[in-house]
């Protein structure tokens, strides 16, 4: 029971990590392309990351 929970948690963390990586990478690309919009991109990035984090945490607690 505990092992399965750990495994699920690991999977969730992998998924969340991949998602965060994608968000961060895309944001970096966008900032590189448009440095003048860095502030707005960062804000959007943080919001999306926060939403993703929320989902990941919800999954962790449910699992």
């Amino acid at each position: 029971m505990n092992t399965i929970g750990g495994l699920v948690a690991g999977l969730i963390v992998i998924g969340a990590g991949l998602g965060l990586g994608k968000i961060g990478g895309s944001a970096m690309d966008a900032i590189a392309r448009q440095p003048e919009a860095a502030g707005k991109i960062q804000t959007a990035m943080i919001i999306i990351a926060a939403l993703l984090e929320g989902v990941a945490f919800a999954a962790l607690f449910a699992g």
Partner: protein, 371 residues
């Protein structure tokens, strides 16, 4: 401008609290490891127990617990440094007494013939002998009175309220003397402007942001101050408590729903520009969406702060688990590093909570001209 000012403040807070941080945690953890040494618990279990205890609310404000020796039965004796807090119980009428009556769980509190026992931070009704009966999972099955005590967390919240009142009331009074604040106001004003210009205006819009500023500012500074206090040697964990974050999320939820305009409700109950069948199918989805938003807020803040505390304390516990000259300093510096990140996280979580709140409010008050 606001950003540079902000980073300065972060560094000031960082350098003031960091030296204290390590000592505080190390004191607590050391105590935990040595605590209940007579028991058959492994040190791993002891650490886990202690961290769980730290994350929970407490009925007294305990700074340091010192092992003073052992009594004749070989049981450890402890001396607690701190102060007790009032306990308010709702159990056939209000019952108020100080938590010192429990002697840190060692004795029963007797009130008008009713006996209460403090067991693992929770107050249970017991008989005169203080018997606790357990179910299959070792959970106590005793009745619990409705606990409305002024606990450690409530004390910290009251302290934060007072602190904010002093700080921002002072800032407000400062404006009567001149247009430019002096003293602490010079630090606080950029923060207020930061919330306004970086959080409220971009998400809610220039026309409507003013109504929500008191809520957003209160929530932002409340969470931030409590997050930072959680990193100090006081050893409190207020924002990493599900009841606190639930209440905060509930307020955001209420503010969002009560400020929602016609377009907002129309988008929930009768989504425009989609087929009728879709409209009906979207109603439960949208209703669920209303609930998941504050739920995510609640979980995020709770999980982030709790996780931060667990990581810092686990790392410090490793020092006492390994008990070696190599592990000690290296884990100390690792903890130091994590603590710095935690200070950043303290701000980030307050920022994200406020940001998401204003985003939800913004979506509720938006004109939806683009649809």
């Amino acid at each position: 401008m606001a950003k540079t000012a902000f980073s300065k403040i972060v560094f000031i807070v960082l350098f003031v609290s960091l030296p204290l941080l390590g000592f505080a945690y190390s004191g607590e953890v050391k105590d935990a490891v040595q605590h209940e040494q007579a028991d058959e618990l492994t040190s791993k279990q002891k650490i886990k127990k202690f961290i769980e205890h730290h994350l929970k609310d407490s009925h007294d404000f305990n700074f340091i617990t010192e092992k003073t020796g052992e009594d004749s039965h070989g049981e450890a004796q402890y001396k607690h440094y701190g102060f007790s807090l009032p306990i308010i119980l709702w159990d056939n009428g209000v019952k108020v007494f100080m938590s010192s009556k429990f002697h840190h769980g060692e004795t029963l509190a007797e009130l008008n013939g009713a006996f209460y026992k403090l067991y693992h931070g929770i107050i249970y009704k017991t008989d005169a002998q203080g018997t606790i009966s357990y179910d299959d999972h070792d959970h106590p099955t005793n009745d619990r009175p409705l606990d409305m005590s002024i606990t450690k967390n409530v004390t910290m919240m009251l302290f934060t309220l007072a602190l904010m009142f002093v700080l921002f009331g002072g800032l407000a009074r400062g404006y009567k003397k001149g247009p430019i604040p002096t003293g602490a106001g010079r630090v606080l004003e950029p923060l207020v402007l930061y919330v306004r210009d970086e959080i409220a205006i971009p998400n809610i819009g220039k026309k409507k942001y003013k109504r929500f500023m008191p809520f957003l500012l209160s929530v932002f500074f409340f969470i931030w101050i409590l997050n930072l206090l959680g990193l100090t040697p006081l050893g409190v964990n207020v924002t990493g408590n599900i009841a606190i974050t639930a209440c905060l999320a509930l307020f955001t939820f209420l503010v969002t729903q009560f400020s929602g305009n016609k377009a907002y409700w129309k988008h929930i109950f009768w989504m425009p520009d989609v087929p009728v069948l879709m409209k009906i199918a979207l109603i439960p989805v949208e209703l669920l969406g209303i609930l998941t938003k504050p739920f995510a807020l609640m979980i995020r803040l709770y999980a982030n702060i709790s996780a931060g505390h667990i990581v810092v304390m686990s790392l410090l516990a490793l020092i006492y688990s390994f008990k070696s000259w190599v592990a000690g300093p290296s884990f100390f510096f690792l903890t130091f590093f994590i603590s710095i990140i935690e200070i950043l996280v303290a701000f980030l979580q307050a920022f994200i909570f406020t940001m998401l709140s204003s985003l939800f409010i913004g979506s509720a008050v938006a004109d939806h001209d683009d649809h």
